[in-house]
């Protein structure tokens, strides 16, 4: 379907617009069976989540959350935003490998990774709005009537917004292909490298920024997790958090959307996973080394004998050290199940780490602990469900998992351009 808005000087807008409308309406319809267990369960969760959110906005945050004066940030910030954004780190790492380092091997997973990253930001960073007490003022730091430039959160807010735009631009050629807008696609494609470079820069800053949020919570975060290096630790761990998510999500997507997977991805998928496993292992060893230095410099051994010390060791050894070793052995022996298990362990380790900083180890000295209500958990699950719905809708319609042919011509054009220049 191509749009010819002007044909021989005479605008033929009407019929084209009508055809475009029918196309869009057709695409909006759900495909496949509606009454699947997944659909039924997620619909119930989303509905319940919606009801809970109505209560939350009518009666205040205290009506459905266990947040308190002592624990102002709970599951929605600690898991949805801080952990969710770490999981979304795969997009900046994969675009770096493909567009900056020119590792064409990973090209087939670029689109699905960027789509995942984009949706993660829209939904998980968007979940921030649910947590804001006064969300109608959310534009204040954007429109410039009150720039709190000394705030780390100011940086994070701006970077979230800009990065969402950058990721949308990175993904937009797929949208243009879906709509059949070739000329638009060419323009958008030309923006990709710029968006990628900008996106990586923003990611480095706000991945670390999420950690820097806790720098002023000195004395509140348990010393085993507090250090001046939280920002660096957050960036480094976002590399293998993101890639583990790519491995985990890719393995599921590969099965569920098998009919949508293109030849090139089908042929190289296993090889890609092995490559990612190796990079994960490398990043995790760097991270472990950094943690070791922080541990020694922070003179943290006094805490090791306590229950918190055991909890810390479980996180570092059980959910970073062990999966790092599994990634390495999975890569060496080429065993995908080992790699997948390592990815799951790594993701659990990231959940542990982010929650230990933001929730579990926050005000660790208090007798009364914050535990999320079932309602907070339902809303979180609703956000995840809604994200999966949108992801499924897009993957079933746009060229996300199969775009080899189109892209090769695109590359051809690019190469010719460069040679000519």
């Amino acid at each position: 379907m191509t749009m010819h808005l002007v044909d021989g000087g005479r605008p033929r807008f009407g019929p084209e617009l009508r055809r475009f409308g029918t196309f869009l309406l057709g695409e909006l319809k759900p495909r496949g069976r509606l009454l699947t267990p997944f659909n039924v369960i997620t619909s119930a969760i989303v509905l319940l989540g919606g009801v809970l959110l109505v209560i939350r906005f009518a009666k205040g945050l205290g009506s459905i959350t266990n947040l308190s004066q002592d624990v102002p940030w709970g599951l929605w910030i600690g898991f949805d935003v801080i952990t969710g954004v770490a999981f979304a780190g795969g997009a900046y790492v994969v675009t770096f490998m493909v567009y900056i380092l020119g590792q064409e091997k990973y090209h087939p997973i670029v689109r699905v990774t960027v789509l995942n990253g984009f949706l993660a930001y829209v939904f998980y960073a968007g979940a921030l709005l649910l947590d804001l007490g006064r969300p109608w003022n959310v534009i204040n730091p954007i429109i410039g009537n009150s720039f709190g430039v000394s705030s780390v959160l100011f940086l994070v807010a701006w970077h979230f917004m800009l990065y969402m735009m950058a990721e949308f631009i990175e993904f937009s050629p797929a949208v243009a292909e879906w709509l059949g807008w070739r000329r638009v696609r060419r323009v958008l494609k030309a923006l990709t490298l710029g968006a990628v470079i900008f996106g990586i820069t923003l990611s480095l800053l706000h991945q670390s920024g999420l950690g820097a949020l806790y720098l002023m919570a000195k004395g509140k975060v348990h010393p085993l997790w507090y250090s001046e290096f939280i920002p660096i630790l957050f960036v480094v761990s976002s590399v293998f958090a993101g890639l583990s998510m790519v491995i985990f999500e890719g393995s599921i997507t590969h099965k569920v959307f098998h009919h949508r997977v293109g030849q090139r991805l089908r042929a190289t998928h296993d090889d890609i996973l092995r490559g990612l496993a190796r990079i994960c292992a490398g990043a995790m060893f760097v991270y472990l080394f950094l943690q070791l230095i922080v541990f020694v410099h922070g003179q943290r051994w006094t805490y090791l004998g306590t229950g918190w010390g055991a909890w810390y060791l479980l996180e570092i050894v059980g959910f970073v050290g062990v999966p790092a070793a599994l990634f390495l052995s999975g890569f060496r022996k080429g065993r995908l199940p080992v790699i997948r298990a390592a990815a799951v362990l790594t993701l659990l380790g990231i959940v542990l780490n982010r929650l230990n900083v933001s929730v579990i180890g926050f005000k660790w000295y208090m007798a009364e602990r914050y535990v999320p209500t079932w309602m907070e958990i339902v809303v979180t699950l609703a956000v995840i469900s809604a994200e999966i719905w949108v992801f499924r809708w897009v993957v079933n319609r746009m060229p996300v998992l199969s775009f080899a042919e189109v892209d090769r011509t695109g590359e051809g054009e690019r190469r010719v351009d460069i040679v000519a220049a």
């Binding site: 940030w73 020119g102 006064r134 003022n137 800053l205």
Partner: protein, 290 residues
Amino acid sequence: MKRRDLLKTMCAAGGVSLVGGRLGAEERPPTAPLADRVGVLVDTTKCLGCRMCEFACATANDLPQPEASIDRSVERQTSPTQWTVVNRYETAKGPVTAKRQCMHCLQPACASACLTKAMYKEPEGPVRWRESKCMGCRFCMVSCPFDAPKFQYDSPVPKIQKCVMCWERLEQGERPACVANCPAGALQFGRRSELLDEGRRRIALEPEKYVHHIYGEREVGGTSWLYLASVPFEQLGFPADVGETPFPVYTREFLYGVPLVLTLAPPLLLALSRASRARQIAEGEEEEER
């Protein structure tokens, strides 16, 4: 000495302090010298624990009146509806009562945490919250070393609530309500530098009575509220581990790094991508030649 005398006279005269004229928007210097900000000196050795300050605070700020009878054995915290509390502590020197509220730090963590500048340090000293700007993210609460800001969790239009040093009263030349209503003279309002002098004077006059430490002089880089006590401040529920570094300093290095990354990373990435693409093209041509 003259100014201090003047201040004393003014305060004694019942609230018509010299602050009145200085707090006017027109005359306010863009940045008052740190030492010259207003504050309150709390002498816990004089405090009777009568809680008059709690009631005066509630009246002045349109808050519900605090409960008349309380369980003294429980350490109460300030809340959205009660911006100051008086607690009693059993110490080595017998029971000591102490009033708590926002410390009005000289370099407040809450204000530097606020991305909308809703939390705002007036050049004169009080740390205020501005309703029209706040988005309710509660980062101020996460950052405050004294847990002063409180959030209305039970409201769909929640506010951040805490002591604002009776900002409106100060503008009209009056002292904070708690100071004006303290029957024991345990609270003294004035310029911070002079309050420090006064605190040191009292310690020097009765070195046996006081611990030789003015809490708030150096803590977190200095606070506008200053405390004298007969026992170490840990025994009065004050956090002893806050250090002397102003809290905004903890994120300063990170924020300094931001412009560096933002400007240096893109050209490096661009160079890297050019280099790798040139290599790819060269490899491609080699293959073609073969």
